[in-house]
């Protein structure tokens, strides 16, 4: 083997090493954070914690039950509004995105992806809270939608763009129109990527505090529907974490662990569900 070949092989090995190093570097802080969250949060997770309403700091029977329900409620509302808008926009951009309107929408999505979460909260406050006269879970959902939609639109578009052109052409050649091609061929094919995008967006908005402070507000009691203020995990974590009381700070870590678990479960469940559906659609 010539020197050149040897150098190229060496280069190959080196880059493999570099990439492995990169992965390790990525995993070290992950391990550190997870470790911290689990070690601090696990002691707080108890049946009481999962099923009780919050109690004052001098009582031990408090919990985050309403915050857990509230997060599911608010993120659910966000997904309800945001997934159709985001995925729809993403499909539009992939199918028709070369026109002026398409390019503008894409550009605006990228800009909006950088929106600070607190600005989303301020907008949600003006749009919903001030007009309806009170804080509500819906206001929180609307605020989070501003963060959710751009990210989902971009990731959906990217996932669809990567479907090979030949696949689409084959579909068209078989007589399916552009709409059917997109919905029945391209989208299922790109589903993994689309799903990843949605999951990333869900994970991101589930952990946001600032937009919810002025919209969903918080509640020491159970949420009674989308029209009332509700406790949510990130806000409750925030309020407890900055308090002077050790008992509350403990619960804050428990809440952080709970949030992580919730996102994990959603992630896993979502993927399993679509994997099963994809297998079904492909006739396995």
């Amino acid at each position: 083997m010539g020197l050149r070949s040897r150098l190229r092989l060496l280069g190959d090995r080196l880059m493999l090493g570099a990439c492995a190093l990169a992965l390790l570097i990525a995993l070290v802080p992950l391990a550190s954070i997870l470790f911290k969250v689990v070690v601090q949060g696990a002691p707080a997770l108890s049946w009481t914690f999962l099923t009780s309403l919050p109690r004052p700091p001098d009582e031990t029977s408090g919990g985050f039950a309403n915050a857990i329900v509230g997060t599911v409620l608010v993120v659910g509302l966000t997904a309800l509004i945001g997934v159709p808008l985001g995925v729809g926009a993403g499909v539009y951009l992939a199918e028709y995105g070369d026109g002026l309107f398409g390019r503008t929408v894409r550009f605006l999505a990228e800009v909006l992806a950088g929106l600070p979460s607190i600005v989303a909260g301020i907008v949600g406050y003006s749009l919903v809270v001030v007009t309806t006269g009170h804080f509500s879970a819906l206001a929180g959902g609307v605020a989070l939608t501003f963060l959710f939609v751009p990210m989902t639109a971009i990731t959906t578009q990217e996932a669809l763009k990567m479907v090979p052109r030949t696949t689409r052409e084959a579909s068209l050649a078989l007589g399916l129109g552009q709409a059917s091609t997109a919905m029945r061929v391209a989208l299922p094919s790109a589903l993994g990527g689309v799903l990843t995008g949605i999951m990333l967006s869900v994970a991101r908005v589930a952990g946001e505090t600032a937009p919810l402070l002025f919209t969903a507000f918080n509640n020491s009691f159970w949420p009674t529907g989308p029209g009332q203020p509700t406790a949510t995990l990130p806000v409750q974590i925030f309020v407890y974490a900055i308090s002077p009381f050790e008992s509350w700070r403990q619960q804050a870590w428990g809440g952080a662990l709970m949030l992580l678990l919730l996102v994990l479960i959603t992630n896993v469940a979502g993927r399993l569900f679509w994997a099963r559906r994809r297998r079904f659609m492909q006739g396995h």
């Binding site: 190229r8 190959d12 880059m15 492995a20 990169a22 992965l23 990525a26 995993l27 992950l30 954070i33 969250v37 808008l85 729809g88 926009a89 499909v91 539009y92 951009l93 550009f107 605006l108 990228e110 800009v111 992806a113 950088g114 929106l115 600070p116 979460s117 607190i118 600005v119 301020i122 907008v123 749009l127 939608t145 501003f146 971009i154 990217e158 763009k161 990567m162 052109r165 030949t166 084959a170 068209l172 007589g175 129109g177 552009q178 709409a179 059917s180 091609t181 997109a182 990527g193 990843t196 995008g197 990333l200 952990g207 946001e208 505090t209 600032a210 925030f238 952080a256 949030l259 994990l264």
Partner: protein
């Protein structure tokens, strides 16, 4: 899984308009396009709403300070003098640090997972990386304060200072652990999963024929990656970076807990600084005077505009790369 077809590059995102003679099966193309168009119109609508909101809120401040708002260095709520320069610089610096650190690592991770790992290892590790995205920003802030900042102060900062890098003007005299650098480092960790996941998806979607063609031509795996796959997935990787940048510029909670919250106009990364999102988050709930609140809206507006500028530049860069590159 993917439908295989003859190896061919993907050149554009759109298709030729389909011409169909008979009755459509399922949704007609026209109504499909219209419906999607309406959904997509949500984005400009949201943009407009945000812009209107920010403009309305910042008008008093803009009227009072004019251009000086952009370049003023003093932020004094008592004297009611507000200048946003320290925050602009802080946002740019922390985001730059975050990108410089995160992008190589994220792409390296993505490449490793897609090209070299297989099956459950790939899924499992990829999943772990995505998990980072699920951690709430306040937890990043707390962890950063308790773990990263002391580490930076005790070991990393002095190390950089003593190394050849310490000669650079961006590394001055290390102080406390709370600094632009620390905030940038934790931001990098926060945007890592986004960049890595989206880049990974982009690389995953490259048809295996491309890989096979490269290898058949005698390229090593790395050369195939560098010369065939990355260019092919370029747009997706670019999107990944843009999303990461967006997150970095807009990140609020973690930054306020780590950056030192000092409105200083400085290029020294060891110094405590401030960022646009951070000052809004810190002061908005308590700001009482109209001018103060309005100035915070003004900072929000500037951040919005900055995002526009940065994104435009990135777009132009991408276009430049496309023309200069192989495609």
């Amino acid at each position: 899984m993917e439908r295989r077809a003859a190896a061919e590059g993907l050149s554009s995102a759109t298709l030729p308009e389909a011409r169909r003679p008979a009755a459509p099966r399922g949704l007609s193309d026209r109504s499909f396009r219209t419906i999607l168009g309406v959904l997509a119109a949500a984005l400009p609508l949201m943009e407009a709403v945000v812009l209107v909101e920010l403009l309305q809120g910042s008008l008093p401040a803009l009227r009072t300070f004019g251009w000086h708002f952009l370049v003023g260095r003093t932020w004094d709520p008592v004297a009611e003098v507000f200048g946003a320069l320290p925050f602009i610089i802080g946002t740019l610096l922390t985001s730059a640090v975050a990108l410089v650190l995160a992008v190589p690592i994220a792409i390296g991770t993505a490449i490793l997972l897609v090209e070299y790992a297989t099956g459950w290892v790939r899924e499992g590790l990829g999943f772990l990386v995505e998990l980072l995205a699920a951690i709430p920003s306040i937890v990043y802030g707390l962890w950063g304060m308790v773990v990263v900042a002391p580490l930076m102060r005790a070991h990393v900062d002095p190390f950089i200072e003593a190394s050849p890098l310490g000669w650079l003007p961006i590394f001055g005299r290390p102080l406390l652990g709370l600094s632009l650098l620390t905030a940038g480092v934790v931001l990098a960790i926060m945007i890592l999963p986004i960049v890595a996941s989206v880049a990974r998806e982009a690389l995953l979607m490259v048809p295996s024929e491309q890989r096979e063609a490269g290898l058949a031509l005698g390229l090593t795996r790395w050369e195939t990656t560098r010369r065939v796959l990355l260019p092919y997935a370029r747009a997706g990787v670019f999107s990944a970076i843009i999303l990461g940048l967006g997150r970095a510029m807009g990140e609020t909670m973690a930054v306020t807990m780590l950056v030192g919250n000092t409105p200083a106009v400085t290029l020294d990364l060891f110094q405590p600084g401030y960022s646009m999102s951070a000052v809004i988050a810190n002061e908005f709930s308590e700001a009482t005077t109209t001018l103060h609140v309005s100035s915070l809206f003004g900072v929000g507006l500037l951040l919005f505009l900055l995002s526009l500028v940065v994104n435009s530049m990135a777009r132009m860069l991408l276009r430049g790369l496309s023309h200069a590159g192989t495609r």
